[in-house]
Symmetry: D2
Subunit: 352 residues, 4 copies
């Protein structure tokens, strides 16, 4: 079986692993107060073009999301998110477990628009009833989104502007950030994120690390006492240097972006193969996740050789499924997949 | 100004108040461990036709909802509710503040259907991803709903059946329960609720008490240690007998239902006046809340003499607003309102 | 049986109740946005000598404590309290249920000293480990304390000074505040509290109201969005005017303090009777709660006629128990109790 | 500088690391649903002598503690712990952040006695006031404790007996479990723990793993839906197999215990050196943590070459400090330390 079901099937990029091996017997201070974490934070600050940001390293994405949101909000405040947002659907109510409502807005492509955010804010701000409703205070977006789409600089700027007007925090979940920043058509970069967001994270787990997310805090309110929050929520790794060592390796040169670029390239080959055979897609994605809509009859055949993720049923006899590539995706495996697709020939949805 | 904006503008029904005055200087045990609470609980058990239920008295509805839900759920479990449900929209995230997600289902008339509940349950039960999602465990419904509609015995039985099949608790918010049970077309009663629900409450605040809700617990799991939960959530009234005295008065005869019947009758007069002049309604309600759709030009005139609640804009120039009656509504005031409506003559939406 | 077991055995002072009856059929806005609440708040501001404070009315003490603390703290922050503090012992973990640790300091007389607070703060502020520990952020004291003792102006000033130096909120639980302010030896008053504390409440439930506490917020951080917090925690009374009506009556003249003075006077008679017969006390109290240490043999006889509260076993055969008086305590009942004490004659602890 | 300040200064044991390297490019399912986790769980079940236990792998100790406790308790329930317990002092209120009070009992040696637990339970069970107090429901102990002491089989059996009589869960924090089970005088083993506890964990972070704790659940109530809890609390590692690979290596032979034995042996050398020079100890420890009481004048000299942890000031001029050894402790480094101690000669506390 060849796995295209997710982007965390393998371990770490060999260079990252090598660095862990090389530093294994060094003695360092615990809890992220070591020189590797300092170095990695310094590299990230430099790539973001700002020295006045705080960088923290956490183990995983759900942990990062819940820690940021718990740190940022007072008890009566909530989070605006697309209904497809990871915090809304796939984190077992982690945000609510910290006491906060997720105000989920309908979204066809996984993105929020500035206007939606403004309308949601205003719907909660009427004089008469506002204290009977949750107060929106943080906007959660993902880039790329859970369905692989990305924000343009113009879109993100508009969102950022609304957030600043309405005194909302803007937090960007970058579990797959590298894939967005290396996608065809992308016009955002780290300095832009550091300028437009109050907080965002650069995902390592899904791009070449064994595990780990680099959280960038730009807003002073969220920065304050943040290490207390990491500890309380169980996210403070005793051997914190493991995170520092990995991120230093990912960002000392361009390794992080090289890996993301490779994955996107592999994904485009898969996309192309489906497109050429007439398949529709759930959304148009230029990143490492592709969501072709496939007749059940073909899925039956595909699953004999390939693992993918079921996403959503779109008609009686067809479903959107997810094919994921990663830094580790073997072009040979992609070749087998595309060959298989071509072998089935042009898709016929009419009988579905 | 005549207030039709809510059903808690006045104090208590005179008979209830009189009883509070009469017993004022008696010395009783605190925290609801007095003879008045026992008596009132006994009356309610008897009206429900079951001795094996627990009855607790709390001060308000939000408090009751959050205490029941916190008592019933484990941290990873959530509540299925209509998107219009009070807990979803007008309790400032009280349920989330207790750690639980509200899984809000779209509802045009404020009600949930058995099939919607089943579908929601199943969407969260897939083998592959279920632990990444909240586990639905309690169904929250209101009767009457927030828009005045009511459940039939058949509908509630179907919901109860799904809940038992799927091991979901069924909890009914009865902030205005009397109005439902006395509505034209209603075929439910207290014994039916005590049989079909795991918990429900009989609202006093909105039907004749100074304040107070009588919570009925039918399910042993929720019953266990419930007084701890009341205390922890700040709902244990020191002079608990105030609740017992009031509910004993409401239920020793038919006072509770007489008051609700009066309010419904007043509401039907208002409904009739609007209907005769061609007004549409947001929903068809047979209880004390009416939601006519009214052109802005007419609202401008109405608001000079009457208070109502704004509900929702339905077109450029017309809104649904809420007129509420209560046990205290004066037929004379209703007369003034209906006269005014007739004075405006047949409604013309065309220019809205 | 004559009840001396608590100070909330009866209903409300007749003047308070009369006012509720008199205003019963008036129509007012809900949720505390009525003229009675405004009036009562105005009276309290005036008695505190400050216009820049916020006054909110809540139903009970646990509710008030948890709402203030939840509003004031971020998730990693905790509360310093005497180990005897009500929040630490008798509120079923309500503060922890809001996510906050109570850092309980040993206290023999129910009071905290400025030095204890400072030492606790410093023990949590070491550079190396602080983020592994809760951050102390709010100091909770009660006046009178749970064992009837009171703070002097000098003591409270010293506490306030430490709190301001260390950026700690100072919150005073005044469930029985009137009894403290009317006690022999007291040199504090409402303006002093409003100057020295960040928040405090004036208890009504235990001094003449049916229920209700008037919360005074002096600190802008805690003031912000406080009504959201009241609603979320289930403390927003629909017919909020009931609280306004009562507090307006308590504070329009000196009724609140007259009642407290009466209770203290009755308590001093009881104290005197025990003292004259050689009884020891758990602490020296000048307020309405007295804690004589009584041999079990005498308790057996007392309990045939009087209700008191068991407090703590102090030796094999003797316990401290609590006798409470209130605004409603009948001098005749006190006469019966003191007569009984004198009848037993001088106490002999030697055989205990 | 030679570090004796903690037992997590280095990375992983070389054999463990080698296994991670060896398996790095394999494709496996995520979230712990892979064959390595199955294998490791199987090995642990086998070492515990029970097939009916559940084994989960988490990243760190605080995370494990909070997840177990959140899974086990209802909102009104609390945890009995020694006041020195890690959850009470060094987890930034993580348990309270999940809503639960820690009922901390004084302990001189870090241990709880069966009698203390029973007394605490009974103090919270009085008919009159129990619902005003937290309900004790889980007993938290550490083995070895935070000060290196260990439980005997007799002590643990007595605790287990009280817990079962009183319907309390018994949870053992084994962050350093190996060191306890390999200590001189220990008579406990994994099968005994699996029989006497409801849950416990086998710490990897401090004994040879890069990170990771193996949680053993013996009680069906806690087992239920536990993966939901791991996910919600942010503890579900995407590449879960990293934990499985490590624990399989630690437990396929005796590596785990060999490493712990080495650390204990090194600690005994340090202990012996201090003892021979007349030093007192905070407690008598036979595990990898030693707490000698050292005059400040000597600490000044020691700190030029060695890192240790400050623990507690015991007099004007002397403090208890912690020396930690681990699987990675070099006998040469221990030699340097003991030589240094001998060089200072017999300790003189008199001038302290």
């Amino acid at each position: 079986m060849i796995r295209f079901n997710c982007d965390y099937s393998e371990g770490a990029h060999p260079k990252v692993l090598e660095k862990l091996v090389e530093t294994n017997m060094e003695q360092t201070a615990g809890y992220g107060c070591d020189s590797y974490c300092s170095k990695a934070a310094g590299l990230i600050k430099s790539k973001c073009g700002r020295e006045d940001i705080d960088v923290h390293f956490l183990v995983g994405g759900t942990q990062t999301n819940l820690t940021v949101i718990a740190a940022a909000l007072r008890p009566h405040q909530g989070v605006i998110s697309a209904d497809t947002g990871h915090i809304n659907t796939h984190e077992t109510g982690a945000i609510e477990a910290c006491g906060h409502k997720v105000l989920a807005l309908p979204s066809a492509d996984g993105k929020l628009a500035a206007g939606d955010i403004k309308a949601c804010y205003e719907a909660h701000a009427s004089d008469e009833t506002r204290e009977h409703m949750v107060q929106p205070k943080l906007v959660y977006i993902s880039n790329p989104t859970e369905v692989g789409t990305i924000y343009s600089r113009e879109e993100l700027s508009a969102i950022s502007k609304v957030c600043r007007e309405k005194d909302l925090f803007l937090y960007l979940d970058g579990a797959r950030l590298g894939y967005a920043l290396c996608a065809e058509g992308n016009d955002l970069d780290l300095p832009a994120l550091a300028r437009l967001c109050d907080a965002f994270y650069i995902g390592g787990t899904k791009i070449g690390a064994l595990f780990g997310e680099a959280l960038v805090l730009c807003n002073d309110t969220i920065k304050k006492d943040f290490r207390y929050m990491i500890k309380q929520k169980g996210g403070m790794l005793a051997k914190g240097r493991l995170l520092g060592v990995q991120f230093a390796e990912l960002f000392k040169d361009e390794l992080y972006f090289e890996m993301a670029g490779h994955a996107n390239k592999m994904a485009m080959l898969i996309k192309e193969a489906f497109k050429r055979n007439g398949y529709s897609f759930l959304v148009e994605s230029f990143t490492n996740q592709q969501f072709p809509i496939i007749p059940d009859s073909i899925l039956l055949k595909l699953k004999e050789k390939f693992e993918y993720s079921f996403w959503v049923k779109v008609s009686e006899k067809a479903s959107a499924v997810r094919f994921c590539t990663s830094w580790a995706t073997d072009p040979g495996a992609v070749g087998q997949l595309t060959e298989e697709i071509h072998k089935y020939g042009p898709v016929a949805y009419e009988d579905t």
